[in-house]
């Protein structure tokens, strides 16, 4: 039997070798400025939600099956068979959103109060890295559901990497684990979501906290008290020594109250609204699916749909890295000077613009009719009047229109997606060459199919589309609905040579269009 002395001795030994007690004591009882009030609770709340994510996440990992064939069923299993399993998923889902929102509020507060300035530059940089990691976790998380929304999230991701010049195809196969979304894709994102990103986040949080302790909690900004790196440290220390309060319990109390309330709020949300998804994919009885990314990424969805096509590639590839780099560079751009928002009007205006833009875009993403009808291709038949009297090649074109999922964006016979124009009378608007060009080069928010369709497939599509005259409407442009020279010649004259020569020439001019 051990005496209390033994326990004490063991603890003493551990402390002697590690110095943990001193560190903990410093962390708990270090002095913080008296003015640090309710503004300062958001960081702790973010951390609290992260811990909820870790706990629920580990539990979910033990139940989730990361295989394309079983992922969906395992979610249904968690929802229905595991006692309170649905609650676990609900907590994880809601806490993920809450964490992102708290993090954004926390960042906004830090930005508004100019806290990123000297000597807390690196704390801010670590924070920006954490922000990116957290958004990555949220994005990969929605893919774990492996439903229509997951598909759409991946679609956005793939569309973005596809645009990278030269390496696009290669990057796409790195991201998706092959040319298309498949089982390998899920494994990849699973590894990211449960190992790589959480590991990174934990490391960054540690660094962030150490830096917070090192730099000390900032005071509320005061007009006329600008930051002078030469003198700031000394002044801060003397002020905190004079008027500061110990972190625990004086400041920690507010954190705990806020976190407790947030936790209760979280449980309430989870209990009331339940888990997110899984969306309707494998359910053979639901036809209409309008997949959207989760709320946090809706704005991105809207941007993708709204941007004029010629700016898209540039903005999508260059925008986020530049934005993140700019955020991270902020403290080095303005390391000194006033912290009070009333003395930093430009920062306040920028912030307002960003917040408004994100809010408007999110609203647009929520209400827009842009989302493709993901199931049109297998579930909406070609109207019978478009099947009758068509040649076998045209019939193949009609099948190709289904197979290439054109109808997810285009309607014929009033059914299909609404992202692109209805195609019922497209033959009156476009000549054969224009049809081929539109299919191969896309443009105006339509993907280019030049690389993914063979010449026979393109030919069949154009043949079918050129029969869609809206019920014998007259041609609206010269050249529409005329005999196709390439189609009418005898086969020995090799019409393909002409068509292909033209397509080759066209494919060089994609960017110019």
């Amino acid at each position: 039997m051990k005496s209390p002395g033994a326990i004490e001795r063991t603890l003493g030994w551990v402390d002697d070798r590690t110095g943990l007690v001193a560190v903990t004591e410093h962390a708990m009882f270090h002095k913080v400025p008296r003015s640090a009030k309710w503004w300062y609770v958001f960081g702790s709340a973010t951390l609290m939600f992260f811990i909820v994510q870790l706990v629920t996440g580990v539990l979910l990992t033990t139940l989730f099956v990361p295989s394309a064939a079983e992922a969906y069923q395992s979610l249904v299993y968690i929802d229905e068979k595991i006692p309170m399993g649905w609650m676990l998923r609900a907590l994880h889902g809601w806490s993920s959103n809450a964490m992102c929102i708290m993090m954004l509020i926390h960042m906004t507060q830090i930005f508004l109060h100019g806290t990123y300035k000297f000597p807390r530059e690196l704390t801010w940089v670590a924070g920006v890295a954490l922000c990116v990691t957290t958004l990555g976790l949220a994005f990969t998380g929605q893919i774990m559901r492996w439903d229509a929304n997951a598909y759409w999230g991946l679609g956005i991701g793939a569309a973005i990497v596809d645009r990278v010049p030269f390496a696009g195809n290669w990057l796409r196969s790195v991201v998706l684990g092959g040319p298309d979304i498949s089982g390998a894709t899920l494994s990849r994102f699973f590894a990211l979501h449960v190992f790589v990103l959480p590991g990174t986040a934990i490391g960054l949080i540690g660094l962030h906290l150490i830096l917070v302790l090192k730099g000390g909690i900032s005071e509320m900004p005061k007009v006329g008290q600008p930051i002078e790196p030469e003198t700031y440290r000394k002044e801060y220390e003397s002020r905190v020594k004079k008027t500061g309060v110990p972190f625990f319990p004086d400041a920690a109390r507010r954190d705990m109250v806020f976190c407790g309330a947030a936790l209760i709020g979280l449980i309430g949300l989870a209990a009331w609204y339940g888990p997110f998804g899984p969306g309707p994919v494998p359910n053979p009885t639901i036809i209409e699916v309008a997949p959207r990314p989760d709320g946090l990424f809706l704005w991105l969805f809207a941007v993708l749909a709204l941007l004029p096509p010629y700016t898209e590639t540039f903005l999508i590839l260059v925008g986020p890295p530049v934005g993140i780099a700019f955020l991270a560079a902020l403290p080095f751009i303005s390391p000194r000077g006033e912290r009070a928002p009333s003395r930093r009007p430009i920062s306040v205006i920028i912030l307002c613009i960003i917040v408004t833009a994100l809010a408007v875009l999110t609203w647009l993403g929520e209400t827009s009719p842009w989302s493709p009808v993901m199931k049109a291709w297998t579930s909406i038949p070609t109207p019978i009047e478009y099947v009758r009297d068509r040649s076998p090649l045209e019939l193949q074109g009609a099948i190709q229109l289904q197979y290439a999922q054109c109808r997810n964006c285009h309607s014929i016979g009033g059914e299909g997606g609404k992202r692109g124009p209805a195609l019922d009378d497209v033959a009156t608007r476009l000549s054969w060459d224009q049809l081929v060009r539109q299919i191969q080069q896309g443009g105006g928010n339509m993907p280019a199919y030049g690389k993914s369709l063979s010449s026979a497939e393109t030919e069949a599509l154009a043949a079918f589309l050129s029969t869609l005259d809206g019920g014998h409407l007259p041609a609206r442009i010269p050249g529409a609905m005329e005999h196709q020279p390439g189609r009418d010649q005898s086969p020995t004259a090799d019409p393909r040579a002409e068509i292909d020569a033209e397509t080759d020439a066209n494919s060089d001019t994609v960017a110019a269009r």
Binding site: A68, A69, D79, P83, M84, W86, I181, S182, M256, G260, A261, I264, G268, A271, W272, Y273, G274, P275, V281, P282, P284, T285, K375, A376, W377, T378, S379, T382, I384, V387, R388, D389, R390, S391, P392, L393, E394, L395, A398, I399, Q402, Y403, R407, A427, S454, S455, A456, E457, A460, T467, L468, D469, M481, H483, Q484, P491, D494, P495, R496, A497
Partner: protein, 275 residues
């Protein structure tokens, strides 16, 4: 339970609430929450509507058909752009295992997608087997016509002869199917005097497997006016030809059509049959 939760925050804001008091309140709140939280909170998701009706029944089958096949094979199994399945003879001729593997894995290098395995939203093998049962139940018991002359779905003999295929084609098919693709005159329909479009168009043939050609020739496409192996056909003079196709004729015709696939000088297209 939710009501009792929402009363706590009032107390939390009480200025005199000490840390420990707040703590105790929190613990009490979460404990009550945990105890009261039974499995019928409003957030509990409704049972995931797993197919309540089995797809082995007509109703269940029709739901899944509409969802996954109607886009290409027609709303009620016919008059779609693809081969109609509403054809008892056809359904009885295709061996279940072939049907299963086509539906599960698709037809390679064609526009027939797979619906099982790893495909997004793919269904289990049992559902596919049930689906085939449902398809037989719904469309497999129609009146017994003899359009296919009892020929098997898959060719049993060796490859056909191109030259004799050309002869049969000229004698029985060419009157309906002109030799070359004819462009739509007034876009929308083929010239009135023509009954069907070209089936020797290399672009068309590159999109179609040999098996699919055979299926079309043996079972026909009655929904569009294409006769099966039993005819009647149309002779070069436009008159009706009632002699049916023999098994050899079918194989020869497939060989003849397949030989037209790459008639135009070959280029990179030869290997681009991949979808």
């Amino acid at each position: 339970m939710n009501r009792s939760d929402s009363s706590h925050p009032h107390q939390l804001h009480h200025p005199r609430a000490s840390a420990s008091k707040v703590f105790r309140l929190l613990i009490a709140a979460s404990l009550t929450g945990g105890v009261v939280a039974c499995d019928d909170l409003p957030g509990k998701p409704p049972p995931n509507p797993a197919p309540v009706i089995s797809v082995a029944t007509t109703a269940g089958f029709e739901g899944m058909w509409a969802e996954r096949c109607s886009g290409c094979h027609g709303a009620d199994g016919q008059l779609g752009a693809g081969l109609p399945m509403r054809n008892a003879e056809y359904l009885n001729a295709v061996p279940d295992d072939d049907m299963f593997s086509m539906i599960r894995n698709g037809v390679p290098s064609s526009r027939m997608p797979g619906f099982g395995g790893d495909a997004i939203g793919g269904v289990s093998d049992e559902i596919i087997r049930d689906f085939i049962k449902g398809m037989h139940l719904t469309w497999g018991e129609g009146e017994a016509s003899d359009d296919s002359r009892g020929f098997p779905w898959r060719s049993t003999g060796t490859g056909g002869d191109v030259a004799s295929g050309a002869t049969v084609f000229a004698a029985k098919c060419a009157a309906c199917h002109p030799g070359e693709q004819v462009a739509p005159t007034q876009a929308g329909t083929m010239p009135d005097q023509l009954i069907a479009g070209s089936v020797t168009d290399p672009f068309y043939l590159r999109l179609i497997s040999d098996q699919h050609l055979r299926s079309n020739i043996v079972f026909g496409r009655k929904d569009l006016g294409m006769p099966g192996a039993a005819g009647p056909f149309r002779g070069p003079d436009g008159g009706e030809v009632t002699t049916p196709l023999t098994a050899t004729d079918v194989a020869d015709l497939v060989a003849f059509l397949a030989s037209k696939r790459n008639t135009w000088p070959s280029g990179p297209e030869v290997e681009d049959g991949e979808p």
